[in-house]
Symmetry: D2
Subunit: 343 residues, 4 copies
């Protein structure tokens, strides 16, 4: 017998915003797909996912937000037409962002997240049993509320009593605060000149704002934009070089993220040397973390931090440093910064 | 102040299935659109609408159903990946299907709809004050239920006491019934050979099943597929020629429907001559119909029934007739017919 | 045996620019098509043709030009990302633009084309044996040269000794000339405010420049933009209303053009009444024209000039008039006008 | 001044098939792109490149071939609607396929390529000064001819006197030959069951056909399909496991290839242990190879062969082995195998 599948408007009285939606059988298996999400990765390059449904949409003062249910990558958070995070592979991004820094640290108790409104970064941090306090500082309250409501996978994290959520510009917040942190994590949009987050990637910001808020032995890590064979020249090499001006030890690493259609990069930095080898990293993970990682372990990190020849060459030769100077005109520009990476 | 717009799962306790949905601000005005509905009109031709949201989806034993909210054409009913009806221009199709036949008839009291599950054909018929009974016979109960639930514009029609809704194969139903009708309307999928509706376009069906069920002075009208400068050779000319074998007076006509990206065709047939001119058609409409048509009036029909040279030439030379013979292999094929036109 | 089909670079020593090209078997019959031309009809509406090949491309000081070989519509001339003309249905546009005006005129000997660089308008005019002189005035020499070289169908027209090709702004040209014409034809881009052709659609242009250059009994006709059930409000109704201020007799008409995915409009105007009926139009065509029209004849024009109710209502109520006033800021803007319609 | 750019048909008398083409300025910088190549990576996932032009097309008895000029990835070889190789990043694939095997070998003099019709694999092999003979055995003569004619970058390789080109089924060829090789390279389509190359990935083929044709100390390497976090389960893990049944030492490795929108895999196998470390690999490359690699060096290979946790887990647990048994039905199927990887 045929039947009408669940649809949007019926409610069913359940409280689960994610559960009640139109799962568009628009072309069952084997049929042509009718509804598509289309992202312009570059002006001449598109990446398109068949859609099951458009689950939720919203708009904040800074940006448009949507939660889509895509066929190839599951639920996908899209901000201003750019994919932020896809259900089936966000673990690669978030495990790579969080765990190398926390596991290289001897005993991370306090962590500060710049941005991170999605909640996944906090979720990964909170898996570390040493962690006593996580401050997550995102400027966009609506994005945070949206993710709190709809990203089921992060609900527990948002409710964790160790998490302190602050709606503010991360730079202003760090400049005001007196307390220091063991780990500071940058989960922000890329440093596009004139873009909302440029100032949070500059040498002077790292020197005068980030470093003073790190405890002895502290580690800073930031997402660092695309790091593919061609795309690593956009911002990855320059973020690396900028951090190299400020910290004694700097480790760039990368991983291919299928839903981004690219390899992504992160840079970890400290004034304390990174001495943990693959085996010790695995040991620490086992001892200090709840649950098992799906992507990251000692060998994965060893591989991720050994970059390919092309990328190593660019990084070695990179001379550009992000400075406030070039971005001064942004002061008073008003729009603040976006809370999400790679927007 | 930013705000999260209405989203799917919240219900709000209102009973309006259409009202509660995600209106995806995916790219506000001026921005690139992210979500698209894509229809393959032909294998080498696509027609794509930016999407606001996927409102409702379902599946019946015969077909997949979806109600989409599109930017260019409003709400759109899609069956098996083919646009059936778009909010902003379905009046062109349905006014053209219904009113010429009913207005050319002297006093139409009873009408039979083959298919028409969407409800719009019934809605237009019920605007005629002379009409006392409308029998709508559609094979697909789920499509009918879907449209009843979600197509707000047809709700009143579905509740009209003059409407008798029957779930059955229209051919079987007409063969069984004893009563006759003033007007019989074909609102079915195109006569693709081997397709679900082929048998309802054959000469013998018209002769042995339709004609006997028409009262004296009765009129038959059917949607007749695309009727553009090129596309009219697909089925339009052959439906016309088939009806010409069975009825004394046959009038083909057409109209461009923007959301179909084509000109569409209908054929009206009777054994009583069509003598109503443009002025009289307007007079009858004013006297017999509730509300005013948006598209069709006397002059519009005069223009619509004066086909262009290319089309007239094909119709004059058409020799093919749809016969049961060619479609015999379908017997017992099981799937029955689809209830929708141009599927 | 397999074989490598003809490819671009080999030349074969034949002089036919159109004949030697890559006919991309990218997905033969039944296979998915790989290469597509995509046009953004509106920001939320796309129209996509599978491509055989990209035949020729060029750029002028005003615009980019391309000749594509498309699967659904044959060779297609694209200017600045907008389809101008498709091989298989340009006859609808050009027959509709040219023949009603020339056939309603008693004895058209001289014709002036504003724009028309493609050459198809001239080609249709030159089929009239009464015509002794055609002046075609287009501002974009490169477009004209491109079309001369690559549009095989118009080669004969470009070589006809009755054709006088002038590279100039049509307005400047008409203001300078002393001679008058029996028919003046506007084959220009739509009157978008601030666009290149706005000034050639204003009341004062029609009054002070066009009308003085028409002989006694002369006819003016112009393409008038999209004229569909929704799109006719963009410019069609206003062009009609503007001409109504200047000429005693004004006839708007329209036709669905498949490759445009819309119904298109033209407006014909004169101070002499249009008295030719369908039959007389056919008689004149037979007597005065070489070859037979594919699309336009007496009945087709009768139907085309009987607009649908929606469109008639808008036209009757239209009050806007295109005036120089609103476009004054364009003076000295430099870019002149485009030579193509609907750019 | 505007000008008409070079176009396809003019020839210019130069002999360079690639040089004379339409470089479609369809939307210059900053404008919407009009012409697109669209690949269906999976049924619900598309990857689209803006097109400059369609350079050459052809068809063989086995497949359709096209050379496209794409904006994001340069010239792209497409076979049966699947991207084979893109100008700007084919070096990643071909350096990864060829150099690890040749550099791990002590002194590679003779190499056999199964497939490889594009010529790039031969080109990379011929950079090794130790190599005295390369036998390239591809079944599709038309593809080989097409690539010989149009892939300028491989012209020198196709002319190298050390290259012996054979048109034959690689399996038949290896079974017939008496000579042995230092390295055998599989550059074939993926082992899709029922697909053209399945038999060249089976345990019995490796055991009875490949291994006997390897000299003492010989190395076998094969492309091994997608190896991303999700896609590695398709064929990569099974190819690895199959080779593990036949050879004592098996090394799987992978690299992200931007134009494939995925990480790609290769598996290298031998009965002699792989003992060369990163440093020695670099030393050998410097000593034995002409020119410098762009992608692969010792550290790159070290990273590439340290797979991520997810992939390592799957490989460790993989039990499936490709056997002739499952593919027996293909015998006599006639079509032979395709010459290209990842078709």
């Amino acid at each position: 017998m045929g039947e009408i599948s669940s649809s949007n408007g019926n409610g069913h009285g359940n409280g689960n915003g994610n559960g009640v939606h139109a799962s568009a059988h628009l072309g069952g298996d084997g049929r042509r797909k009718s509804c598509w999400y289309e992202e312009e990765i570059e002006q001449d390059l598109r990446w398109c996912f068949a859609l099951n449904s458009i689950l939720h949409t919203g708009a904040s003062q800074y940006q448009d937000i949507a939660l889509l249910d895509t066929k190839p990558f599951g639920k996908a958070l899209v901000i201003d037409g750019k994919l932020q995070s896809a259900e089936i592979d966000e673990f690669i991004y978030h495990e790579s962002l969080v765990h190398p820094a926390l596991l290289h640290h001897l005993n991370p108790k306090t962590v500060f997240i710049m941005g991170g409104g999605e909640g996944s970064t906090a979720r990964e941090i909170l898996r570390h049993v040493t962690v006593e306090k996580v401050v997550m500082c995102d400027i966009d309250e609506e994005v945070v509320d949206f993710c709190k409501s709809y990203l089921v996978v992060n609900r527990e994290a948002f409710c964790d009593s160790r998490l302190h959520l602050i709606i503010n510009d991360a730079r202003a917040e760090l400049q005001t605060r007196q307390d220091c942190f063991d780990v500071i994590i940058g989960d922000l949009a890329d440093p596009i000149e004139g873009g909302p987050c440029y100032q949070l990637y500059t040498k002077s910001f790292y020197e005068s704002t980030v470093k003073p808020r790190l405890n002895e032995g502290g580690v800073f890590v930031t997402q660092a934009g695309p790091a593919g064979v061609f795309s690593h020249t956009e911002v990855f090499s320059c973020i690396y070089n900028t951090l190299r001006q400020v910290f004694k030890y700097v480790v760039p690493y990368s991983a291919h993220i299928p839903s981004y259609a690219d390899t992504w990069g992160w840079v970890m930095a400290s004034d304390t040397p990174f001495t943990v080898d693959a085996e010790e990293l695995d040991t620490r993970a086992k001892r200090r973390m709840k649950g098992e990682n799906r992507y990251l372990d000692g060998k994965t990190f060893a591989s991720a931090s050994m970059l390919s020849k092309v990328v190593r060459k660019t990084l070695a030769k990179e001379t550009q440093v992000y400075t406030e100077g070039t971005a001064k005109f942004i002061y008073g520009h008003g729009a603040g910064h976006r809370s999400q990476p790679h927007a």
